[in-house]
C-alpha cells in the first residue's frame, strides 16, 4: 500500500461513510484510490465530492490502526527474552456522538448495528486547506447504545470493527 505523499502541517480530521442503505464496499485496491472512489465518500468540506457519502458527526475521530499481539519466548542463558510480533487484528473504533434521532448517518449506523452484516466503507479524512489525506477502510458496526441520562446531552456510542486487510491510504 503506497503511503500518502502529502505532508499536512496542521489538519482537522473528520469521519465519513458510504450513505447507501445497502452499500457495495470499495475493493481493497480502490480503498487506496482517491479519484472517483474515496473522493465520492468524502464531502466537499474535505475536498471530496460527497456524491455517495455522508459525514458521521463524531465528537472525536478515535484511534485507528492495528492491535499488535506479541509472543514472548524465553531464551536459555540469555538475559533478555525474545518478543516476536504475531498476527495482528485491526483496531476497533469506539465512537461517541451526540445523539440526534434525525441524523441520517446515525440512523444508518444504528440500522447497520441491528443487522451486523453490512460491510460499509468508512473514511477518516485529514484536511489542511486544499490537501486531504484519507484513510479508507471497510467495517461493520456493532454495540450501538444510546446514553440519554438527564444530567447531560444525550449521546450514542458504537463500535466500528474494521475488516482485516481492507484499508488504503490516498490523498489529493
Amino acid at each position: 500500500m503506497a503511503a500518502p505523499n502529502k505532508i499536512l502541517p496542521g489538519f482537522s480530521a473528520s469521519l465519513w461513510m458510504q450513505s447507501a442503505a445497502t452499500p457495495t464496499a470499495l475493493t481493497t485496491a480502490n480503498l487506496a484510490v482517491w479519484s472517483g472512489q474515496v473522493a465520492t465518500i468524502v464531502g466537499t468540506t474535505a475536498n471530496g465530492t460527497g456524491s455517495a457519502g455522508v459525514q458521521v458527526p463524531v465528537e472525536a475521530v478515535p484511534a485507528f490502526g492495528q492491535d499488535d499481539a506479541v509472543a514472548n519466548f524465553s531464551v536459555a542463558g540469555s538475559r533478555q527474552s525474545d518478543k516476536i510480533p504475531t498476527q495482528s487484528a485491526p483496531t476497533s473504533l469506539n465512537v461517541t456522538a451526540a445523539w440526534n434521532p434525525s441524523d441520517t448517518a446515525l440512523l444508518q449506523i444504528r440500522s447497520d448495528a441491528y443487522s451486523g452484516i453490512v460491510d460499509r466503507t468508512f473514511v477518516v479524512a485529514a484536511v489542511d486547506g486544499s490537501s486531504t489525506v484519507a484513510y479508507a477502510f471497510n467495517g461493520r458496526v456493532s454495540q450501538f447504545t444510546i446514553d440519554a441520562q438527564p444530567g447531560a446531552e444525550a449521546k450514542c456510542n458504537f463500535t466500528i470493527h474494521p475488516r482485516g486487510n481492507q484499508y488504503g491510504w490516498s490523498n489529493t
Binding site: A29, V33, W34, N165
Partner: protein, 62 residues
C-alpha cells in the same frame, strides 16, 4: 499468467493484496511497462505496484 487476468483479480478482491499478489506470477517487464503508463491514482496502479513487488524487473545492462 496473463497480466490482465492478474489485474482483474487484484482490483476486484477484498483480500490482502500482498497475499493475493504472491500467488500471481506474471511477466515482470510487462508489469514495469504497464506501471510506467498507468494513471497513478487508479486501482490498476495500486495492483501493478503490488505485482511489481513480487515480479521485479531489472533492465539488462548494455
Amino acid at each position: 499468467m496473463e497480466l490482465q487476468a492478474a489485474l482483474d483479480e487484484l482490483t476486484s478482491t477484498y483480500k490482502d493484496l500482498d497475499l493475493v499478489a504472491r500467488g500471481l506470477q506474471v511477466n515482470g517487464k510487462e508489469v514495469a511497462d504497464a506501471l510506467a503508463e498507468a494513471e497513478s491514482d487508479s486501482a490498476e496502479a495500486v495492483a501493478l505496484r503490488v505485482l511489481a513487488k513480487y515480479n521485479p524487473y531489472t533492465p539488462a545492462k548494455k
